[in-house]
């Protein structure tokens, strides 16, 4: 993996990697990807991918309101709020 790819990936993942760290991160991720290449050597033509260990399906429930409103408890732990809303930097001019 090239250090230039790291910046693209970091942007997609909403992370920031310092330019001086990109080469080291690229090298370490490259080592992990090399490990993963062992997977490519395996013949899996007739194999169904396994999404769940017990092949369970999503359980459904009645469409009823069962949870109490805990807005105040949730807002209380947010970094910045105002009038019951989460505050973020201005998005629209």
């Amino acid at each position: 993996m090239e250090p230039s790819e790291i910046e693209k990936l970091a942007k997609l993942a909403r992370l920031h990697i310092k330019p001086e760290e990109a080469a080291e991160v690229a090298k370490r991720i490259g080592n992990v990807l090399a490990l993963m290449d062992q997977l490519q050597a395996t013949n899996t033509d007739a194999v169904t991918p396994m999404a769940h260990p017990l092949d369970a399906v999503q359980r459904l429930r009645a469409d009823l309101v069962t949870e109490p409103n805990q807005r105040e408890a949730f807002m209380a732990i947010a970094p910045a709020t105002e009038n019951g809303l989460y505050l973020v930097p201005k998005v629209i001019d």
């Binding site: 991160v25 370490r28 899996t44 359980r59 998005v91």
Partner: protein
Amino acid sequence: MHNLSIAQLINQLQTKAVSSRELTQHFLNRIAQLDPGYNSFVTVTAEQALAQADAADARLAQGNAPDLCGLPMAHKDIFCTQGVRTSCGSKMLDNFIPPYSATIVENYAAAGVVMLGKTNMDEFAMGSSNETSYYGPVKNPWATHCVPGGSSGGSAACVAARLAPAATASDTGGSIRQPASLCGISGLKPTYGRISRWGMIAFASSLDQAGLMARSAEDIALLLNTLTSFDAKDSTCVDHPIPDYRADLTKPLNGLRIGVPVEYFGEGLHAGTAAAVDAALKHYESLGARLVSISLPHSSLSVPAYYVIAPAECSANLSRFDGVRYGYRCKDPQDLEDLYRRSRAEGFGDEVKRRILIGSYVLSAGFYDAYYSQAQKARRLIQQDFVSAFQQVDIILGPTSPSPAFEFGSKGQDPVAMYLEDIYTIATNLAGLPGMSIPCGLVDGKPVGLQLIGNYFAESLMLNVAHQYQLGTDFHTLAPAAIS
């Protein structure tokens, strides 16, 4: 008091030979005195613990209190505790006080169990040495220059150092079994879906499972009934009959078929570990079990498949940490993207960021089939190996970890070296099977773990097999020299 088994502690509490307050104070004193040397707790909840202990004593005085009433234990800091900071070992959640508790935390609280505090762990459970914790590494009570294993290193170390009789933990690729092995205690990761994960901070959702650490299999059996409950709030929690896990402990092992996988005894296994595991297998033969050599031919795919699937799921799960609703937020964000990127860059540690990047990479357009889909196929092959094996045998035994506890920093800067630490434990998570580690010897004064892998929902059999071994051996009773 701290050397008594949980059965003995329950007896003392129920007969009022000791009060929960005395017992709780005893463990709090030990934590205050000894834990600065181990760093196994991130938060000690002394005040709440004593209040819970007094409430437990009141219930005990009334009679008809649940078995576990008044017993102290610790919770891994991955489980949300209402009103008590839950950090998950990360700067990201250093200020996070959950508005609710995990189901398993509530189960124990309802049973009158006293919470001593929250245990240290690798950041977001990503690590095998506890070196990735924001709160600094936990030290192994057997050798403080060595790691306790991870990610549940704090839970393992506090039980090994007799700072708590037991602790909850979680296991995504070996995070209960490997630290149990390195710290000389017993640890159980139940079948995927057996235990509620409501309120357990998610890492890799198709692999994560909550479990227990204590000194013996009997201790775990006594705690497991309360850990286990069907929970509609966790959509992956399986509605499967719950047995009394204490019921089968005393069954003889005559005729038990033990599978010994050839792939778990190859290159990379420490000679001392191999010898201790071999001796344990011989002990089982003397108990009437039969050893059957088996093969799990796709074992070598476990680590690569895991390091596609776990980062992929982690990159999705950890996208919720955005600096907006809870957790760390960077100072003076320029715009929304800067808020997201810097909050996450400053709040997450290096290993977590690395795994998010890898996960984003393997899930990105053009790579999905080559990596994620291929890993899910490899996972099926790994599972089929176990399905075939369990047609011939009742349980599988082998080493938990390739070697005893290693020194801090010794795995260097290459993450791959650390990932191989979980080479024997990961396949169990990929297949969703229950796994356990129990102490089976000492090498150079450091503990070695024997791994037990059971069929789906075979926890009772595993506890039986482990307990019968512990009836005839004393490895689970050994304490580090510094612990009196």
